[in-house]
Amino acid sequence: MIDFPSSTTSSITNELIEKIRRLISLKEKIKIIGGGTKERLGRKVFGNPINVSENRGIITYDPAELFVTVRSGTPIAYLEAVLKQHGQYLPFEPPHLGEQATVGGVVACGLSGPSRPYKGALKDYLLKVKIINGKGEVLTFGSQVIKNVAGFDLFRLMAGAQGTLGIILEVTFKVLPLPPFSTTVVLEKNATEALRFLSIIAAKYFPISASCYYNNRLYVRVSGYEKPVRRAAKAIGGDILANDHQFWNSVKERTHPFFRNSQRLWRFVLPQAAPLTPIEGEWFFDWGGSQRWWKGEGDNREAIFRWARDQGGYAWYLDKEETLASPLDTALMRIHRRIKEAFDPFGLLNPGRIYEEF
């Protein structure tokens, strides 16, 4: 167990809770703000700003037990730096999307990086979340242990709920040791060949930790012990990519040249081997082909959402300022609204952030 000079004390958390409770008692709508780096990832929210970024600091970090508990306003970059000092990391490689990014924002947006199809998503590493719900109740769900099936998994429900169900106060992640060795190979392939090739190598027991495709090049990263990694890299083929850390960081942070001038951007999440999208333009595939980016407006948004649905997946349209997600069907929307009511009966927390309806 490692002791941290607390950068804040729990009194900051208590002040935050009191502030939130005051707004709730006045039935005032609340717009939750952390580092302010993820505004674009949802719809615009109008409400009294509540800034959680002062609620920061690592509460418990026990490297031998592979878990860390942090306050929601802790900068994700700081957390990752501390983990790195102890040879550990967050295996879902969360995109920060800005220096000020907080742990709470990353969890609320449910963000996972390039390793997602191979190492799991943020929700797979979430062990415990402490929230304040729309009634002003402070609730903790989950536990520091990996195996815990007591009660509904309401902590996982917070991942990606964008603050609509509760304001995140504290988060516990499962962490893992950094892989001792990593290398990336680059292969010349067109998009169709790349998708097929990814399926073939994914069915073998190779320690692949990321893969993406752009402009007739397929990039595959392998991580683990040096010997098996070298053998796997050789079997996959291609040339070794220099500075691969920088490359994957640009993929994770969406700073790769593809994302330049991407004021209008489509994001698709599809089965890995889903066919190529029938729209021309510049494409970038991540997550072994599951996450696909396309730069462009798309003349007919409805048709694009429908196409994604027909492939067994979903789409998100990001314009300069906000994101619109694939529409939900009536029954699913009703479930969402009822769940929202169960957590936030007065509809005060980040209202309309994901969909207008809740």
């Binding site: 026990d62 592979l66 010997k227 479930i335 769940i339 169960a342």
Partner: protein
């Protein structure tokens, strides 16, 4: 008044059975008491309730008929898969029916390109891996009942198994489901690609013990088989040393496929049952399975062996080939039947604790066992801190069962005290309603109830399971009383 209500209920019951018999093929409705007794409990045999009827539909349309009839007559439904659950999740509810999904047993698709299996809920866990085997793939969660337990049940209970330390629980291996809501609509939840818009309903439904909807189809992630697997077994003269080795292995960065401990009592029982050749005087064995690519398995075997020796292992057995590996696992897998041979009855507990507390908790359990004058054997998933104390007893001795239950609760309370959970993989069901009050505050339990009501407003789906009533928590003596004040005085207690 009570009598009136009862008459009304029994009238509704006979009307419901009439409706079911009228709208479903005769062989799909069981309502004769002698036939119903097969369904009176699941793997937790201590709780038995005779259901009003059992329905075994073959089509979705029939489930819809059943749902609407139950809604009309206010009769609760308990969905049942293989009936192997250990916490009473599928125990019938008084005055309710059992909906068996055993006829929904088709594997709809194995897609080796996307590495997924699309299956109906009544398919057994083992059948999925068997169907995927020709492609070098398998479904990772492997609960010990995998021959008989169904995917629907795995989803309801978020089942684990020996290999979930490395490969995750059911929640980490289900990609999408189709679910019938209590309103009778079919909703698609999740996405093979890994992310859906809106809230993560998939993670909410997995592990919800059949209380939020009826899963009628699941898309599962398949993973490639490792190049090789090896088992390193360390024998120790002290269980504390074995426990500390567990922490050390995990802290070193190795993630074994399985990391299990058996204590002296269990080893002796197993040796009596099957010959594996553990040293006679051994107090604990630690089984560490390593899998992956050849080079990494070789490297990790070496490291684990070194750590075991450093921590004082008296002997190390390394599986030389596949037969040896399977034989050593057989010893571990025979632990429960073996316990059944040395004691007329046993009660298998299921709690999770931080690994660093293993030695402390095991010693404390031994002390408690002595106090209660009961024998407790330990065989468990040490790598993820999921303990399974086996309390041995004789049901024919008056009062012994009550003593066992009381000891069991003490053990679970201990798990929560050290920062763990009252259930690692068996679920809450009926069995752990009381201990839920240790782990959660009243406000948290109330939040669970509100969520249940959001998806099942009339409490038709497996009511009374998994989440204790606040009344029960009050009775359990675990009201969060702070300076003489009961939290949330105004909260309704039922």
């Amino acid at each position: 008044m009570f009598k009136e209500r009862k008459t009304k209920n029994s009238k509704n019951h006979s009307e419901l059975i009439k409706t079911l018999l009228h709208s479903l093929p005769k062989e799909e409705v069981i309502h004769e008491p002698e036939e119903l007794s097969v369904y009176e409990c699941d793997g937790l045999t201590a709780f038995k309730v005779l259901p009003l009827a059992v329905v075994i539909p073959q089509k979705i349309a029939e489930i819809l008929v059943i749902l609407s009839a139950c809604k009309r007559f206010g009769v609760p439904i308990v969905v049942r898969g293989g009936g192997t659950g250990l916490s009473g999740g599928a125990t019938p509810v008084e005055g309710g029916i059992v909906l068996s999904l055993s006829k929904f047993n088709q594997i709809l698709e194995i897609d080796p390109i996307n590495r997924i299996a699309r299956v109906e809920p009544g398919v057994t866990n083992m059948q999925v891996s068997q169907a995927a085997a020709p492609y070098g793939l398998y479904f990772a969660p492997d609960p010990s009942s995998q021959i008989a337990c169904t995917i629907g049940g795995n989803i309801a209970e978020n089942a684990g198994g020996i290999h979930c330390l490395k490969y995750g629980l059911t929640v980490n291996n289900v990609l999408a489901i189709k679910m019938l809501t209590v309103e009778g609509e079919i909703v698609s939840i999740g996405n093979v690609g890994g992310e859906s818009p809106g809230c993560d309903l998939l993670s909410l439904i997995v592990g919800s013990e059949g209380m939020l909807g009826i899963v009628i189809e699941a898309t599962l992630r398949l993973v490639p088989k490792p190049e090789c697997a090896k088992l390193v077994v360390g024998c120790f003269d002290d269980i504390t040393k074995a426990s500390k080795t567990v922490s050390q292995i995990i802290a070193s960065g190795i993630v074994p496929a399985g990391l299990e401990i058996m204590d002296k009592l269990v080893i002796e029982a197993v040796q009596f049952y099957i010959q594996v050749g553990f040293p006679i005087s051994v107090a604990a064995v630690l089984l560490c399975e390593l899998d992956g690519m050849f080079e990494e398995v070789e490297e990790e075997c070496r490291l684990v062996e070194q750590m075991m020796i450093q921590m004082g292992a008296t002997e190390i057995i390394l599986s030389k080939n596949e037969e040896e590996r399977l034989l050593l696992w057989k010893a571990r897998k025979s632990a429960f039947p073996a316990a059944g041979r040395i004691s007329p009855d046993y009660y298998c507990m299921d709690g999770t604790i931080p690994r660093k507390s293993l030695a402390f908790v095991l010693n404390r359990i031994a002390e408690l066992a002595a106090q209660y004058n009961l024998r407790v054997g330990n065989v468990f998933h040490a790598g993820d801190g999921n303990i399974h104390p086996l309390i041995l007893y004789d049901n024919s001795i008056a009062g012994e069962k009550e003593r066992v239950e009381s000891l069991g609760e003490k053990i679970l309370e201990l798990c929560v005290e050290v920062g763990g959970s009252i259930t690692g993989e068996h679920g809450v069901g009926l069995e752990k309603l009381g201990p839920m009050c240790f782990q959660f505050s009243l406000e948290e339990i109330w939040q669970f109830h509100r969520l249940k009501r959001a998806l099942d407003p009339h409490a038709l789906l497996n009511p009374g399971k998994a989440i204790p009533t606040l009344h029960r928590c009050a009775e359990f003596g675990k009201m969060h009383v702070h300076q003489g004040q009961i939290a949330f005085r105004n909260v309704e207690r039922f």
